[in-house]
């Protein structure tokens, strides 16, 4: 039993990492700009497609006709040879292609910041003073538009985007703890994902805590008007924060690509849950978002254990919403929300 529990805790960590990263961005945007951003899941999805795009770019190929083999119609086989083979030789080329996903981090950061800034300046800033319902409608519409654009270019089927060869396979925790082999195994890439998420979360907190920029943003989150009166251009900083939040969601998506093959719909799958995470953690609370992200990820994992499903059928589908209802009934401001938020 112990091993099953450890296993599900581990399992919850990587999903929890994704929830936490998305919820962190959502909270940043809600806290700074006061906007409920339903397009945030789409940003996560676009991040995953940054990984797909980069791997397509580095596998760009030219055709070489191989006379010795034939294709399905009996014509000489055209073999695709990636340009990176020509540039760096086959061995280095293969390594570069193998490491496409980690490399996509570098590719995704500028792309995601750009998308975030364009989104904020082009559309969302016009909705700052509108009711939340308007913001939700426009960002939800934007999410659908982005989703359809991706579907148009990449198709509807999931696109396999494997992690580097070095990270395939899984780590045997059970053996490490002195148990029998194969009792608790955990894929290497998910460990990487967890570590990566922890790093990003730490970086965002450090940025807000230890830089002047972060200090101003935190002050702006607490009292936007007063900061503005001090002669600080808070809008500009908030735009940058939107870009950063977009990059965080995007990076969460890039690294998630090997875990679940990216498809145009993956953003929506995460969006609703991430909102629940924000609500449970407390609207506007960054540590709350992170805590609730991991908590719900682990709970969801437990609820899909066979023993639990046999006990309460269907619990795996509703556990997160049950928790959300409980929290909203007993503590409307969420686990770590500031007093007064969502309580008026």
């Amino acid at each position: 039993m112990m091993d099953a529990i450890i296993l599900q805790v581990l399992n919850g960590l990587d999903k929890g990492s994704a929830y936490a990263l998305i919820a962190l961005g959502l909270t940043l945007i809600f806290g700074t700009l006061g906007v409920v951003n339903f397009a945030h899941g789409a940003l996560f999805m676009i991040g995953a497609f940054c990984a797909v795009t980069l791997s397509r770019i580095i596998t760009l190929s030219h055709e070489v006709v191989d006379e010795s083999r034939t294709d399905f119609l009996g014509n000489p086989l055209k073999v695709d040879v990636p340009y990176v083979y020509d540039l760096f030789g086959q061995q280095t080329g293969e390594t570069i292609i193998d490491w496409a996903v980690p490399l996509a981090i570098l590719f995704a950061i500028p792309v995601m910041i750009l998308i975030g800034v364009v989104m904020e300046r082009g559309l969302i800033k016009h909705f700052y003073n509108r009711p939340h319902a308007d913001q939700i409608l426009v960002t939800f519409g934007l999410a659908i538009v982005l989703q359809e654009i991706i579907k148009y270019f990449y198709g509807a089927n999931p696109i396999p985007t494997p992690a580097p060869e070095a990270f395939t396979g899984s780590f045997d925790f059970g053996a490490m703890l002195g148990m029998e082999a194969n009792q608790i195994i955990y894929p290497y890439w998910r460990l990487v994902y967890f570590a990566f998420a922890a790093l990003i979360i730490g970086a965002v907190f450090a940025f807000l805590q230890f830089t002047t920029f972060g200090m101003v943003v935190r002050a702006g989150m607490a009292d936007r008007d007063t900061v503005g009166l001090l002669g600080i251009n808070i809008d500009k900083r908030f735009t940058i924060m939107f870009g950063i939040a977009a990059a965080v969601a995007g990076l969460a998506g890039v690294m998630y690509a090997p875990i679940n093959s990216p498809n145009y719909h993956m953003g929506m799958d995460f969006l609703v849950l991430s909102f629940v995470v924000v609500v449970v953690g407390g609207m506007g609370s960054l540590p709350g978002a992170v805590l609730a992200g991991f908590l719900l990820g682990i709970l969801e994992s437990f609820a899909s254990m066979k023993e639990i499903i046999d006990l309460i059928p269907g619990i795996n589908q509703i556990i997160i919403y049950l928790v959300a209802i409980l929290i909203l009934l007993t503590r409307p401001r969420g686990l770590m929300g500031r007093k007064g938020v969502m309580e008026d």
Partner: protein, 448 residues
């Protein structure tokens, strides 16, 4: 419902109309405006292609649509004629169907039963489609088949693999060329026994809907019959994308084989997760851990990438078959579109030809005449060898392919290799087999 609405006035009216109908000479009813739903009166006939154009099976639907367009082109005498040249029945002349040029309308099922019914209804009522075909999901196929039965048009099912389509939900106006869950189980079992022995502990993950249940049941009963033990069978939500929490307990259970009763995106994700967990590198009970995917498709294999290597499954048809029919189809499809057709494309192309041929042989588009022409029709040359459209349940009986993910693919289409062609006799079952019980074919409906 009709009982509760029975009134004296209504009863009188109905009796009067019925009496008048009986009193009329038959020659008069035969020449009335429409003898059956959407009787084509002009120089054209309209077919309705109802496929997922959006949603998770959109790529599969797109391939079905390509095949339909190719079939229409061939029926109207265009292109190289494809499988019309290899088809054992020579009734089709390349001048449309019964001399009428074939036209078509398309609908989007969105892989949702209600959307599929709405689009089928609109094609029947507004566009005058005399036959509806398509689908990439058993839920959709069952729903649309029932609608066509009520409307009095023929339904030629596309890709649908659940036993229920020609089992408990069968309809007289509906026909399925595609194989089913039972046939997958029956074809796979001997191959699995050969490859992995008769002492295995299997763990099933099953998509939580109609098709998942029948597939699990079929694979379980045929593997248990040869000595395998089923240690657990867990249902997974259709909307699930991350299967890690379902995969993680597999090894703990002592299972040495994982059966993924998943299709489309579900299968791509669950298989990817299973491979990530390193299941295939593990040794359990002194045996190499194995994964099985009962229903394979090339489009799915492409989604799962290198993860499919060495994994067994079954399929209705594959482009690498070398019979004359398959070669002719691959050639005309490949030259038109630049890549080989999928099994979804194959079954929909064949269904269109079979419908057209049945109309020619019946000399009419009248649904009951078409039903009669298709029932117990034996044919060959359409890529699956000798095939029988059984009259008892409107299911085709033909060879089933057992395939394996290829170790060294030469192209993005060359992902599966055929391990065995299981002869039709081995996958044939009695019409009242337990897995197909309940429901009745009923009688054909001409509508109008």
């Amino acid at each position: 419902m009709s009982n509760s609405n029975l009134t004296r006035r209504g009863l009188l009216k109905t009796s009067a109309v019925a009496g008048a109908g009986v009193a009329l000479p038959t020659i008069f009813t035969a020449s009335s405006a429409a003898a059956y739903t959407n009787e084509p009166t002009g120089s054209t006939v309209t077919l309705g292609f109802n496929v997922p154009q959006t949603g998770p099976y959109a790529d599969e639907g797109a391939d079905e649509l390509r095949a339909y367009e190719l079939a229409v082109e061939h029926l109207n005498g265009g292109g190289d004629g494809g499988m019309m040249n290899t088809f054992s029945s020579k009734a089709l002349q390349g001048n449309g169907i019964l001399g009428k040029k074939v036209e078509y309308v398309t609908g989007d099922t969105q892989t949702k039963s209600d959307a599929a019914r709405a689009s089928a209804k609109s094609m029947i009522e507004k566009d005058g489609a005399v036959m509806i075909t398509g689908g990439s999901s058993s839920g959709v196929a069952v729903a649309v088949q029932a609608l066509c039965q009520e409307a009095g048009v023929i339904f030629m099912a596309g890709l649908t693999h659940s036993n229920d389509t020609t089992g408990k939900d069968k309809r007289a106006n509906g026909f399925r060329h595609f194989f089913n869950s039972y046939m997958s189980g029956a074809a796979l079992a001997p191959v699995l026994k050969n490859a992995y022995g008769d002492d295995r502990k299997a763990y099933h993950l099953t998509a939580d809907y109609n098709w998942g249940y029948t597939t699990e049941e079929a694979v379980r009963s045929s593997t248990e019959a040869m000595g395998w033990e089923t240690v657990a069978a867990v249902k997974t939500p259709l909307t699930q994308t991350d299967f890690s929490s379902y995969i993680a307990p597999v090894l703990q259970s002592g299972a040495d084989t994982l059966v993924l009763n998943h299709y489309g995106g579900n299968m791509v994700n669950s298989l990817t997760n299973a491979v990530q967990f390193g299941l295939r590198d593990k040794q359990v009970n002194g045996k190499d851990f194995q994964i099985i995917v009962p229903l394979y498709s090339r489009l799915m294999a492409r989604g799962a990438g290198a993860n499919v290597k060495g994994i067994f499954g079954s399929t209705n048809w594959h482009w690498s078959l070398t019979d004359e029919g398959s070669k002719a189809f691959v050639k005309s499809f490949g030259e038109k579109y630049g890549f080989p057709p999928s099994q979804a494309a194959h079954t929909t192309y064949v269904q269109t030809l079979l419908y057209a041929d049945a109309c020619e042989r019946a000399g009419s588009f009248q649904p009951c005449a078409v039903v009669e022409a298709l029932e117990d029709f034996e044919f060959d040359g359409l890529g699956n060898g000798k095939t029988l459209y059984r009259g008892d349940d409107h299911q085709c009986f033909k060879d089933v392919l057992v395939v394996k993910g290829k170790e060294n693919p030469t192209s993005e289409f060359d992902l599966l290799e055929i391990v065995e062609v299981t002869p039709a006799e081995q996958v044939t079952y009695a019409p009242d087999h337990p897995q197909f019980q309940g429901g009745a074919l009923g009688s054909c409906n001409d509508g109008a």
